[in-house]
Subunit: 236 residues, 6 copies
């Protein structure tokens, strides 16, 4: 059963940027939520928000590869591709190995049709050019062309993983934009959405004032007067 | 005399993507044909296909640099730039050193005029912005501005080299697109072209079915029924 | 008081490319002026030219972070953002640490309004997507979202620094384009501007000839006859 | 219940070197069994042989660290230290993070008393100098002094892991000496022990002949005559 | 005037190990005090304890090197070597550049005679073999043979620096042993000495019990009963 | 035919340290002669001096590996092991790939018997522990256990190579000690031997004075008076 994220939390987060979410979590005491080295492949794709369907991998061994190719072992890759649900984000721990591709434009196409929210892997993908045209947010570390079983073996779905140096538990909320990807602990998603959205609006207000020539010293980070002015405008 | 590639092989390969070629070679037992870390500079350029004119380099030593600048030693760089022929790909082993530029927009311009197929170096180039506008496929690891003799010394042309961690023999067929570059052993080029082109068409068929909502489990990788349907459509 | 750069030097340098400047300095005996790993965030932004306002940082320690957040220590970050003057380039030594962001779109917006020439950091920035739209040249090593005090502590403004492996003294002239950033010793700026501009024009002449099919062997690097022809055309 | 390894397999493997085991597995089709970057801390310690008790970790998150320190979550670290049995090797996946120490001389001392066979981690340990004196084989990537919960969170014991880029399943046989560590699939341990021991003795024979001046061309790798002579001597 | 460290603090710290100091500081809220990648060259040397005389460097530029070699600029290297006082530790920020040597056996010899406490550099040194025999603690990242001015330029003495990723202020107390080096903020040195020494003795007590077969679960980390027994023995 | 080095040059160089040789070459204008990352395996072995027998390698391809194992292609590895002559140093370019071993204790034993001067590879070797006991100087980047053909293919013997980032031509003189390895251009060997030996003796004199308490400021680097005193003592 796919992980669930309340629509109204998703909506609020979709209006936020990754830096606002990361800054908000930092103020709440969480210092390590931004995935390192994981970059957007399709800059034009919309903001990605969704709960994590996780995939855990280890280096492959020749007997495992043979068992998979001979059909003697179940392919968790195939199962994950079939089961990642609408609104979910598939997140794969690939340990930074970019010599092999988790997936390419075919899976991306199928996920787009199915309504999957996005794909994140701290490893490689293939068909970058084709993926850019599909419109599904895909985040990866590099380009590869070998099948995934050339280097990695999937040992579990929906287990806790590390991805880009960040802890991700199944159901945690992933958010991605042009800056990269951050992971929000599920229990904090509502609070983070509120605070980050507030921050997003405050920053938009500050940016507008800066564009009009307000001095940066009082405008950003906003001092008490700037915040009060923002609150007043907002309330009004 | 430039290395030769039969037109009809070139034509078929030009219709393939790098991932299709790499997957095909993997199935034929070749696991290491995709150059690591070598990226396209001109994303808008056409697919690159051509036989390799290779260039072997080592770290430079001060007496070699002096001999070159004083005209006491032949510049193999100059010779390579003059002799790389129409349809060929100049491939330079630079050992990942990105502090120096093999070439820039001037050589790229001359090669474009001459009909050279492309340029590949696991090192640096300069004038990235200008190269993007020329329309010749150039693949490199980074941006540099120093003349090549600041760091590297060319010791041989058309010798076997390693580039991006891949073995390349003179005449091997290089193919490059937005995903990067792969090297095809010359003796396999015809077979690879056939198989990769088949794969390309099969994948296009699968992608179309996925876009129409076919389930990924049977569609990709395609099961027997999907392949049969593809064959039928193709034959009909 | 902001560092000053004579308008007519700035004008000439703005007509040059970074590779021309780096090659010129190399011929003058300066081998290490191109910043490694520092990339443009806003490819569409104009060429950046301006004297360096430098910022020196070290790893942060928890007592320093507390003192800053409690207002017991002066924030040099705030002061630098207020004091970087029109026409200057803010250059920050971040030692390649990309886990934290020196600044984001807010400061970029304020600098754009103020007429600052650009921003360079061998570390991270946030809000990449927003920065791309502002039109101020920003050069960095990566994307981050944490506040700067999460990892770095500013110890001095306008002290000598290293950035991207290059020595930069306050007032040195930074030039940046799509290739990256180079640092010109202030005392050499006038001479470099002359020579690089000459080189720029000579290369444009050579490129035009190459486009018309001139042989690369005599055209680039230009031999005596090509230079003479260029001089003649120029003089005429 | 601790993993078991038959005494007579253990005895034979203890007489082998890691290179002999790795070469033997390579000939059997296993190319990736030698852990990269994991070095012996106590060169004087005996050869390590034993089945793997595995420990899986991910990056830690602040709420997990708090739950552990407040006793609200079970410490798998404590459990692993209590339960690793006589003859076993504790193997921890730390993803190459050397900023934190899995353990130090205290745990090493307790393991030595208990008869644990050894410790392997692709991360850090502390008290290197003290560990060297204890006599238990410990293999790690570096020196650290922070408690393990500063960076890593243990999510499972006796699950499949990757360590030093190699797949390790619970019960797989780890062998370590001055060269480093290799992992033998449990089902192959008997066969590997036989073949590696044969190879060990053949190489000792070849080495003796080389020391007496035999030509390397026929002696190593041994040609048919050399192997026959070895077999004859051995049989006699 | 050399930085001073009270004898009785120095004495207590000399009885501690680096891991005890790092753990103590971690409990006091300081997470980043252990220098990364800086290794002891002379394992047999005594524990190093002393206040930091710091040296700040940037990449060198050809005009600075010329000025130094022609005597037109003061050599801060020479001054630092002359002025580092008895009991002090010379700490140099070299930014991880190991291609050049800060010093070798000559300076080490002079410092040994003068009573300098030790040398730390996150860069290279030369004459490793000779340094090992001198008996002065030296910590570095690698071996180099080029003179320091080949790559680095010293811009300040006794300014705040980063070394091995750790903030070091002039006068901070450096401690080094076989595990590596840690930096103690000067204002905390007394408190750290007390707590680390207590910890050192407690761990020695636990280790002794572990050697006698006490169960690790209650002995280390020590539970209340173990601590009480330690306190009783100590008091008695 | 083996490369030759005059005995009296060899004798003088054997009395020098690597840092003295590197400093001497630096003063002669050669900045890049010290191999990066190549470490001694047998610290107790004597100083290594000898002309280079070079070995050039590229990444292997599966068809080459098959041809070698089926005897359809000549093994240059075997030839090199047979032909490296007494007094020579075998130097292999392995491009920093440490996953495979060029050789192990068997070849080292044969070379010791034959009187080969040493072995240098910027890649891996196996049987470290055994090599340490043989007494032949071996320099490498790491430990590996796979046969060399698992990753590398030898394409030429006695061609120019890069090793550890340094240019090495066949016959160039390699010198190695506990600090690492340097390459001396053959044509400079005599001059370097003279100058480095002088420097060696001068430094020994300075060191002795430093041990007796002479001030470092005038003693090292030695001022005119110190040099004069050295010359006087030497002459007398």
């Amino acid at each position: 059963m796919p992980h669930h994220l309340a629509d109204e939390i998703r909506t609020r987060l979709t209006a936020c940027s990754v830096p606002s979410v990361v800054s908000t979590l930092f103020r709440m005491g969480y210092q390590n939520v931004f995935l390192r080295g994981v970059k957007p492949l399709a800059p034009g794709a919309p903001v990605m928000v969704g709960p994590a369907m996780t995939m855990r991998t280890i280096p492959i061994r020749e007997d495992m590869r043979a068992a998979l190719s001979e059909g003697k072992a179940e392919s968790l890759q195939k199962r994950a591709f079939e089961e990642t649900g609408p609104g979910e984000v598939l997140v794969c721990e690939a340990a930074g190995v970019t010599e092999t591709a988790l997936l390419g434009d075919m899976v991306t196409t199928a996920f787009k049709v199915r309504g999957v929210a996005g794909i994140v892997v701290d490893g490689g993908v293939n068909d970058r050019a084709a993926i850019e045209g599909i419109g599904l947010p895909v985040y990866a570390m590099g380009d590869a062309s070998l099948p995934f079983t050339s280097h990695r073996h999937i040992t579990a779905l929906n287990a806790p993983i590390g991805c880009g140096g960040v802890a991700i538990f199944p159901g945690d909320v992933l958010i991605g934009d042009g800056n990269g990807v951050a992971a929000i602990p599920l229990s904090l998603a509502d609070e983070v959405a509120d605070k980050a959205l507030y921050r997003e609006r405050l920053e938009a207000y500050c940016a507008e004032r800066l564009r009009q020539g307000a001095p940066i010293g009082t405008t950003y980070p906003p001092d008490a007067a700037t915040i009060a002015a923002f609150e007043a405008q907002r309330g009004g």
